[in-house]
């Protein structure tokens, strides 16, 4: 069903298909791109000797050596900027930030430098770099380590932002990001790393940037989400179909900038009801832009207001019970779906 949303994607090639985790799919994408292109190198804290703090880069140091899998001091502003400079000279750096929370110390290099280069210098130079980092919460990592600032970057002209939900798109979008001539932020997610799925191995397959996917077809209501929220939404959709015969369509955004409003609007035009879900805080978040776009593009199609669900708007507390209460869990998504349907009469 995934194919529905992505006409431009080539068919699975001879290379075949393999089931692997999201983490392994990212690693496969990096290995393939590094083999394909000398200019590609990975840089970040603990990506080498330590095998990556979340093990995404495990084994790459042995395979490609310390020049292409470069451990850095704890200096995000410094090495993100170093990625920008290397990219301006034509390299293809993949900079890993341990978690999105730490990108705050490098915000100036991303927003005020990487994003500005193309336009500010009149198109004379480009910045083809990739920044990979996980967002998300759920392991009691507390207020400073449980955030998702996805919308801040998606709201920055000059950047491209993708946030894959499946292992196949993790591979496809990371590869597309590496091959893109512009700075691309690849937002991963902590709990999603262990998720498994079929991955098309063909080293030439990429997932196009700017194209959403209808991850599940449905008739009664559309859930729009990205990254781990899509994984949750699909589970809820299955459960509601089985237990209540409710038919939920799930649109997986995959890219946040460019944002594929067309696919979202087409789905809402069909279901007339929509719930937007994100892992982060919804107010002034990704779902705010979704609601703004949907109410405009689907003004005459909506049977009910666009609803939003995300992390409760508090710095995430440590206590397990409190954290769980604040997260957009499957239970809360299910309740929100039913409420959105009820609202519709």
């Amino acid at each position: 069903m995934k194919e529905d949303g992505e006409p431009h994607v080539a068919e699975p090639a001879a290379a075949g298909v393999e089931t692997m985790t999201y983490r392994e799919a990212l690693r496969l994408a990096m290995r393939q791109e590094m083999e394909r292109d000398e200019r590609v190198f990975v840089m970040g804290e603990e990506v080498g000797l330590f095998d990556g703090s979340y093990k995404v880069t495990a084994g790459l140091l042995d395979e490609f050596g310390p020049d292409r899998v470069r451990d850095t001091p704890i200096s995000e502003e410094g090495f993100v900027g170093a990625g920008v400079g290397a990219a301006m000279l034509g390299e293809r750096p993949i900079v890993e930030i341990m978690t999105l929370n730490f990108l705050l110390v490098a915000m100036d290099q991303v927003v005020n430098h990487a994003a500005k280069i193309g336009a500010m210098f009149g198109g004379e130079v480009r910045c083809p770099m990739v920044i990979r980092t996980p967002n998300g919460a759920g392991n009691q990592l507390t207020a400073q380590h449980s955030q998702s600032f996805d919308g801040w970057f998606a709201g920055t002209p000059g950047l491209k932002v993708v946030a894959p939900a499946t292992p196949d798109d993790a591979k496809g979008l990371l590869k597309a990001a590496v091959r893109d001539e512009d700075p691309v932020l690849v937002i991963e997610n902590l709990p999603i790393y262990k998720e498994k799925g079929e991955v098309r191995l063909d080293p030439e397959l990429t997932t196009p940037i700017g194209l959403a996917a209808v991850a599940r077809e449905g008739a009664d209501l559309t859930v729009v989400s990205h990254s781990f929220a899509t994984v949750r939404a699909l589970r809820v959709a299955e459960k509601l179909a089985a237990e209540r015969g409710v038919s939920v369509e799930v649109v997986d955004l995959r890219s946040l900038r460019p944002l594929d409003v067309e696919t979202v609007a087409a789905s809402v035009a069909k279901t007339n009801r929509v719930l937007c879900v994100e892992e982060g805080w919804p107010t002034y978040g990704v779902t705010a832009e979704l609601a703004a776009r949907i109410q405009h593009a689907c003004f005459d199609d909506l049977d009910a207001p666009v609803e939003r669900l995300g992390m409760a708007e508090v710095p995430l507390p440590y206590a397990k019970e409190l954290e769980l209460a604040a997260m957009p869990t499957e239970e809360r998504i299910e309740a929100a779906v039913l409420r959105t349907l009820a609202l519709a009469g």
């Binding site: 804290e45 603990e46 000797l49 330590f50 095998d51 703090s53 451990d71 001091p73 704890i74 200096s75 502003e77 410094g78 929370n101 730490f102 705050l104 110390v105 392991n139 009691q140 990592l141 507390t142 207020a143 400073q144 380590h145 919804p282 107010t283 779902t287 207001p305 609803e307 939003r308 669900l309 995300g310 409760a312 708007e313 508090v314 710095p315 507390p317 440590y318 206590a319 397990k320 019970e321 409190l322 209460a325 604040a326 809360r332 309740a335 929100a336 409420r339």
Partner: protein, 350 residues
């Protein structure tokens, strides 16, 4: 607490060191039993540096640390019950279950956390020193950080501000040889970290962080210069982290078992025990101190087990100051699903 001059009474300090070791062994057990979650960073091997520097503080000095802070909280006198309850995420934890292992604090003891962003606590500690200076108080701030944190921009900006404004602060670099899996040599172009103080015309000293008395002496001297002459300083304490970066890290990918064994040979607990013997402490006294520490840990665990979880209907408590609820009243319409119940009805501004 002792001033620099006074002779060190080692026995109670030894008891605190043992308390920290036993407390963290228990914390690891409870983590494996899933009663503690999140990141849990142990400081086994670093007890002398921890207890010695805190011992050198005055009662009204201020303490700010990173996330590897169980030992600092205990050394500063935060009740083991409140610390263990915090690790358990319970109501009576020192942060009422909202901070966890990385965000311990006790303002009543001048301990202002417990911070999780590497280097992030430095500008904040510097601002506290600025406040002490503005009020012309004869107090100082002790700001702990790790060897890996010295490469963050926040280190540079904070030290320059502290020096150009002559603030009463001592930056304690706990050099345990690694920042996660990265050795000091791989991370710092100047691996003699204390020498970096020179870039700010600031005094920098290095001490054997496993030598309790030496730590107390130099920390006491630097803190006194900070209090009396507004002379900020860097103190690098050389020590070693016996365990992995956190309980999730075996700690073997980047160092050899031999290296770890070698350091365990020189366990600061053993060194301090030997010191006690030289000072004529009896086996009974030493055993009594160790038993007291063990009992304190037991009591702490019992307390944490019995302590209730934070009230679920108070999710938003603490986020904003009392009185803020009325400011947010008009924000309710059209809000995302759940905000009404969880946030606006969750103790916001109370």
């Amino acid at each position: 607490m002792s001033t620099v001059a006074a002779p060190v009474d080692v026995l109670p300090l030894y008891r605190t060191m043992v308390l920290i070791r036993r407390f963290e062994e228990e914390a690891e057990r409870q983590y494996k039993a899933a009663r503690i979650g999140g990141y849990c960073h142990l400081s086994s091997g670093q007890e002398a540096a921890t207890v010695g520097t805190v011992e050198a503080m005055h009662a009204d000095d201020l303490l700010v640390t990173g996330y590897r802070c169980h030992g600092f909280a205990l050394a500063r006198g935060v009740p083991p019950e409140a610390v263990m309850a915090e690790l358990f995420g319970r109501r009576d934890g020192c942060a009422h279950g909202r901070g966890g292992s990385m965000h311990l604090l006790d303002a009543s003891r001048g301990y202002y956390g417990g911070w999780g962003i590497v280097g992030g606590q430095l500008p904040i500690a510097t601002g506290m020193a600025l406040s002490l200076a503005r009020r012309e108080e004869r107090r100082a701030v002790l700001c702990e950080l790790g060897d890996g944190a010295v490469n963050m921009g926040a280190w540079h900006e904070s030290l320059n501000l502290a020096a150009v404004w002559r603030l009463p602060i001592v930056f304690l670099v706990v050099n345990n040889e690694y920042g996660m899996g990265t050795s000091v040599e791989r991370a710092s172009a100047e691996p003699d970290l204390f020498k970096r103080a020179g870039a700010y015309r600031m005094k920098g000293e290095r001490v054997d962080g496993d030598d309790l008395e030496a730590v107390i002496e130099v920390a006491g001297r630097l803190l006194e210069e900070a209090r009396g002459e507004r002379r900020p300083a860097v103190l690098e304490a050389l020590t070693y982290r016996f365990r992995g970066h956190s309980v999730a890290d075996a700690g073997l990918a980047y160092r050899t078992r031999e290296e770890i064994a070698e350091h365990r040979e020189a366990d600061p607990l053993e060194r301090t025990k030997a010191l006690l013997r030289d000072r004529g402490a009896s086996a009974e006294e030493i055993e009594a101190a160790e038993a007291a520490a063990a009992e304190a840990v037991e009591r702490a665990t019992e307390f944490a087990l019995a302590d209730p979880a934070p009230a679920l209907d108070r999710l938003a408590a603490g986020m904003y100051a009392p009185g803020s609820a009325s400011q947010f009243e008009r924000m309710v319409p059209g809000s995302p699903i759940g905000e009404r119940e969880l946030v606006y009805g969750g103790g916001l501004g109370e």
